[in-house]
């Protein structure tokens, strides 16, 4: 199977022809597709970048590379927004759009400011499509090791691209569905998906499988989202992505007080590095988390580096 129709469709003809010519077995390994104005069309495969020539062959040689024009990017953005840029205003302001199927599109360009916050991004010059892949069962090892004696407040730490979010999603799915094999009953899980990466909601509906007892509040700031879930949805577990600020710490503290288990992720190479972030430092010092899982890329994304019990 090559790229899904959802991915091919968002590109204008010039680019979609190239992409649909990529051999099937290569497609499955591609993690990112990158468009930059007047620069070669690139794909990231096994964490390394390659060019594409106009026949869809993956190559390392720059001189054969297919060059992306400004109008290609312009057309791509229009298609990605379903020809409705106004409907993705807020998403563009945050620098990304979510596509059907949960693929994330990062965008850069010229920023228009309004009172020090981004009003919109114009003249978009770079697009990075990150292909969402669900790897079901990738958190089995972690669940087995860390949750032997029931759920714990968990912090997952890893550098970008090591499968933090994929692992978090799989944990959510497993504890939400319940897993007899691992002796996990199904819990009510609330997910605050600020950046739309966990459940990848498309007009509110999760595009990725996050389990049957999961409530997702989409593109909501963590602090507001956690409080909202606590107030209205009665979750037993709350999962959030990429925490770090002091406000996050505060919101999580509220959740802890109400007896909810927290599963969170943070950017960082290891525990010492994330400790530099003021919010996480606060949380670790106050023993918010019971277990910290450090991931790395040593044996491919999602390698468990360390499990630290605090």
């Amino acid at each position: 199977m090559g790229f899904t129709k959802e991915i091919i469709n968002v590109f204008p003809e010039r680019i979609s022809t190239v992409l649909s010519n990529i051999p099937d077995k290569e497609c499955n390994k591609i993690q990112e597709i990158r468009l930059r104005a007047k620069k070669p069309l690139m794909v990231v495969k096994n964490s390394e970048d390659y060019f594409l020539d106009d026949k869809g062959q993956i190559t390392k040689s720059l001189k054969d590379a297919f060059i992306v024009e400004v109008f290609d990017i312009d057309k791509t953005i229009k298609r990605m927004s379903n020809y409705s840029l106004y409907s993705v205003d807020d998403e563009i302001r945050n620098g990304f759009i979510t596509l059907v199927g949960g693929h994330r599109v990062g965008i850069v360009g010229r920023v228009v400011l309004d009172n020090n916050s981004i009003k919109t991004i114009r003249n978009i010059s770079g697009i990075n499509l990150r292909i969402a892949r669900e790897i079901k069962g990738c958190s089995k090892e972690i669940l087995k090791l860390a949750y032997k004696e029931g759920l714990k407040h968990t912090l997952i730490v890893s550098p970008p691209g090591c499968g933090k979010t994929t692992i978090l999603r799989d944990i959510i799915r497993n504890i939400s569905n319940g897993n007899d094999e691992l002796n996990i009953k199904g819990y009510k899980v609330g997910v605050v998906d600020e950046r739309g990466e966990i459940a990848a909601c498309y007009y509110g509906v999760p595009q990725l499988d996050v389990g049957i007892r999961t409530d997702v509040i989409d593109s909501c700031p963590k602090v507001i989202g956690i409080n909202l879930l606590l107030r209205s949805m009665g979750p037993e577990v709350i999962a959030v992505d990429e925490i770090g600020s002091l406000e996050d710490a505060k919101a999580i503290q509220d959740a802890l007080k109400s007896g909810v288990k927290i599963i969170a992720t943070a950017h960082g190479k290891d525990l010492d590095e994330v400790k530099n972030r003021i919010g996480i430092k606060e949380m670790l010092e106050n023993k918010f988390f019971e277990v910290v899982i450090v991931l790395s890329k040593r044996q491919g994304p999602g390698t468990i580096d360390k499990i630290i019990y605090l």
Binding site: N9, K75, K78, R79, S84, Y86, Y203
Partner: protein, 171 residues
């Protein structure tokens, strides 16, 4: 026999006159309906941020033929990514509806411009696009209505008189 022939000729030219006058009034109705459609569409876009294909589909439910099918088809083409821009999709589709939607060049241009802007900017930009287009359409509607009012009776009479003239010549 002659008498029946005369009646037939007069009847057919008169019908022709009435048909042309119907076309003129239908055209006015269509322009009015387009204005109404744009107002509903504006609501869907500005207040609910519906994506275009969905907004058009919702609007189509409140319209009569042939605009109803036009909006449904447009929504479908957008959903299937038939072209790179809304403008292209509109132009291609309008070609198919040319004999059902009675707009002249100027009126089509206004719509083409409107669809060219549709969806390419934020809400503020969209609002402006709607305002400008609706104003233009109001003007065009006035012109079409004026034309219809002036020519309506004339065309009907002309149809009838033409029939009479033909009959007189033949006899």
């Amino acid at each position: 026999m002659k008498f029946i022939g005369c009646i037939l000729i007069i009847a057919s030219t008169t019908t022709m006159g009435f048909y042309i006058s119907y076309l003129l009034s239908e055209k006015v109705r269509q322009i009015q309906e387009i204005q109404y459609a744009l107002q509903v569409l504006e609501g869907e876009i500005v207040y609910s941020s519906e994506p275009l294909y969905n907004a058009l589909l919702l609007v189509s439910k409140k319209l009569r033929e042939p605009l109803k099918s036009f909006f449904i088809d447009m929504s479908k083409d957008l959903k299937e990514f038939k072209a790179d821009t809304v403008y292209e999709i509109f132009i291609n589709l309008f070609e198919k509806y040319r004999d059902k939607i009675f707009l002249n060049k100027e009126e089509v241009e206004v719509l083409a411009k409107f669809f060219g802007e549709l969806g390419t900017s934020d809400i503020e930009g969209q609002k402006k696009n709607f305002n400008v287009t609706i104003k233009r359409l109001e003007l065009l509607e006035k012109q079409a209505e004026e034309k219809r009012r002036k020519n309506d009776k004339l065309i009907k009479y002309l149809g009838f008189s033409f029939g009479v003239i033909v009959v007189v010549i033949l006899i």
